[in-house]
Symmetry: C2
Subunit: 366 residues, 2 copies
């Protein structure tokens, strides 16, 4: 089926992921289809709720494409939520205004852990339908990124029942009953792998694993309870589809202390937040993986000139993508976290233009 999709007209993002030559630095923004856009708010009002948007292929397609109509972004990302998988496990996801996600049922004891199962992927059909619908609507403009939460990040929500500021319950399980925690994580890893593979089958041209809460773990615990299971997912992914390589991006918010280890997890691209010095990270990893990031989304509240200046600083920190020996490092420009709902939309123009303009300069012969 996916062979029927239109050929790609802009594959800059995919090439940067794979450390191949590009004419400029590709840019997309985490949560680029979101509340800072008035057209998004209008569609969401029609849909009635966040899940109303996410579960309807047409709405999901509409909002995914909205930022592409405004800005010269180099990739689209599936409009969905990282918590669809535990929802399909039967935990009952809901979103209350201003409070974020909540699960009706939580996984805190031996019985709840024993009852967990890899969900039937048919329960996530609405996601795969959205992927196919978006890919068709894109008609080859830019590649489509599929995504999931990491096994650890899903576990945080499954145990806590929602967001948390101290991760007390999930860490209590981790330290008191590591055996239970590992069973949850193993099931999550199997589920996430199946979920991402089905997104690839449906038309996703790259996949991203959001380890949004990996950075709250202690050194040692991160490796054992987060990275190990992310690596299990990456190892189980199909990496080629219809002759095209499917890049895999792993983003651990707060993962700066463990870049070296994260870069060894099998992903093509490592996403980094703004605390990371991109140039130092690149040197440390010696271009063995591409890097994605890492502007502080709060920069977008500054005037357009300041936005452009800070974007150039990020690009300069990474440096010239082409190396002295003619091989290439890969940089995908992004924020270090989702774009804020309070962002003035016109500032995003300044950002995207600055990245493309300065990215070309960084490729000129010396």
């Amino acid at each position: 089926m996916s062979s029927a999709f239109a050929p790609l007209r802009n594959d800059t993002f995919l090439r940067a992921c794979l450390r191949q030559p590009t004419e400029t630095t590709p840019v997309w923004l985490m949560r680029q289809a979101g509340r800072y856009l008035p057209e998004y708010r209008a569609t969401r009002a029609q849909a009635g709720s966040f899940m109303g948007l996410a579960t309807n292929a047409q709405y999901a397609t509409d909002v995914t494409l909205q930022p592409l109509d405004r800005y010269a972004l180099d990739a689209a990302i599936l409009f969905s939520d990282i918590l669809t998988v535990p929802d399909a496990m039967g935990l009952g996801l809901s979103f209350s205004e201003g409070e974020g996600p909540r699960f009706e049922r939580v996984v805190r004891d031996e019985a709840a852990v024993a009852a967990l199962q890899v969900p039937d992927m048919e329960r996530l059909r609405y996601v795969f339908d959205a992927v196919t619908s978006i890919r068709r609507a894109l008609d080859g403009r830019v590649p489509l990124i599929g995504f999931s939460g990491s096994p650890w990040t899903l576990a945080c929500y499954m145990v806590e029942g929602g967001g948390s500021d101290d991760y007390r319950l999930v860490k209590t399980m981790l330290y008191a009953r590591p055996d239970l925690m590992e069973r949850v994580l193993d099931i999550n890893a199997q589920a996430v792998a199946a979920y991402l593979n089905a997104q690839i089958d449906a038309g996703a041209q790259a996949v991203m694993i959001f380890d949004s809460w990996g950075g709250v773990l202690a050194d040692g615990a991160f490796q054992r309870f987060s990275l190990r299971y992310t690596a299990q997912v990456v190892a189980a992914l199909q990496r080629e589809k219809d002759g095209a390589r499917i890049p895999c991006i792993v983003f651990t918010k707060g993962g700066g202390p463990w870049l070296q280890e994260i870069a060894g997890c099998g992903a093509d691209v490592v996403g980094v937040d703004w605390t990371v010095n991109l140039g130092q990270a690149r040197a440390q990893l010696a271009d063995r993986v591409a890097l994605q990031g890492n502007l502080d989304p709060n920069v977008l509240f500054a005037p357009p000139e300041a936005v452009a200046r800070e974007a150039c600083a990020v690009l300069d920190s990474f440096g010239r993508p082409e190396r002295a020996d003619g091989s290439w490092g890969g940089h995908v420009f992004n924020l270090g976290h989702g774009i804020s709902r309070f962002t003035p939309p016109e500032h995003v123009h300044a950002l995207v233009e600055a990245v493309h303009r300065h990215g070309r300069l960084l490729r000129e012969p010396r």
Copy 2:
């Protein structure tokens, strides 16, 4: 006046801060006088409010000493809040139950910044009175640590008006009007230095600067807007009092990416959170400073055996304090953040005992 204080009977903490030989690893806990202790909750109920506790020298003395009566801790820390300085600047600090600190007046525009001044230290007399009262009550049991928020951390609260999850307002000022931000930070640095020096005059035997929100800054912004002003404070501190060296501890939550630079700020001790690998940090810094940390406070929810095991892992990560050449590295055991109000008090016993026991083992001849 301070020469009238009783001589110290346990100076293990001070020696570890200064990388001198110790019989075991000293331990104290951030927020050790706090809500997890029933006796603290009783005193607080008497005082009526958090500020009622902090502004009354007798209450502040009572709660500071409570954890020392339960546990064999090696240091006391002044009971106060990091936000006393902006309160003395006239911003009007209050604490609402469950919501954390709020300022009545915020510093968001040119006029508010222009009006800021280093406060008259007489407005903070209640803090210095508490320091002297606590030091007398300690009667030489353990050293007393004074503290303040860092210039950047104070600025976060002064601009945001309270806690924040995205630091949007303070970062908007930082990126849009760095000149205003720097004026706020310069005033804060002068105020914090005067405040800590007055605490030392009143009897504090070590001081700690809490850069609780340094870790939310981007690489580059951290150095310019946080570390630079922390270093300005450290440079202005009196480092000796009545013949005794006054160690200075700098703790940046989330500061792992910048350890090398933080270690160069002039402090004797660098506090690190649990994301940092203590052994790697020590190797990186080559024992040029002592390290404080770094157990995840959530470990204290696990059973006592697990608490002891994780504490030993932290000590082992730091390794034997004595080096092959006979010189010493310094390790002050602590959590990587304040102790949780939900901590079972008996688990703290297991922690303190494990640190002292295993700390002695690490000093035995090979």
